[in-house]
Symmetry: C2
Subunit: 141 residues, 2 copies
Amino acid sequence: MPRKTGYQTKQKMQLLAFFEAHPDRHITAAALLLELKRQGISIGAATIYRQLEKLEAEGLVRRYALDDRGSACWQYTGGQDGVCRHHFHLKCTECGTLFHLDCGHLNEIAGHVAAEHGFRIDPARTVFYGICEQCRSKSKE
Amino acid sequence: MPRKTGYQTKQKMQLLAFFEAHPDRHITAAALLLELKRQGISIGAATIYRQLEKLEAEGLVRRYALDDRGSACWQYTGGQDGVCRHHFHLKCTECGTLFHLDCGHLNEIAGHVAAEHGFRIDPARTVFYGICEQCRSKSKE
DNA sequence: TTAGATATGATAACAATTATCAATTTCAAT
DNA sequence: ATTGAAATTGATAATTGTTATCATATCTAA
């Protein structure tokens, strides 16, 4: 009979260990590979991508398409009620910083769009693009 | 002395002609290449990418990073007050359809985020991800 | 322990985009 | 119209992020 759960491999657990140690961090697959290798962990790029996909399917990790071009970012959520499940993100197109935006007023808009426009927004997957305060004041100088 | 404006080339004008003929359409570079070739126009892929970049810099065309992976989409805006400059977009992660969302209530949020969170959102560059009505009712069956 | 399912990792394949560069085209000044 | 410098083109190579392949290694229930 087919197995229901995957195997517990060294690499998968080390990946999870990394994420648990950095719960708030958004990281790319490439950076992840570097960090793990730096820790002396033997892991290949293919395994990183495969495991990220599986962890995403299990709801432990979330994928963000942050850049217009460039690579995706991943973040640990630790399950259904993960850190960034309910709020939006802001990404500054100038400096590239990603901000978390947890704001009741904004969170209402998901309800509004569902009710008025028949579209069920996934806040955690949505990123607002724009210019942050720092970059704005810099460009004024 | 160096020139200020670029040269008026056949290809660039044909590209613009296409966009002017399809003002509301979001199209990928690859699809653009196909369409132009279908019209008997001699143009290379590299030129498409280069000209799109230039047209974007001139503010005549706008780039959207629509897919998590996959290719970017482009749309004619015709200058500063282009069609999609002030409203948001919704992208269904199920069927891939892109919806325009012009709604006063939503447009307020840019003001809110600027005032309360010090971040100047660019609505035209921001895409909400979620599930559209059709796909939602389908998945209920 | 052992068998069979599953995971790994090196590498190839892939897709979208960008860089290279010789040949061509544009356009302002003659 | 001719010229010539600057800009553009297009075929192709290179790059980047990601996925597929497949032989080998690992896991785990029996």
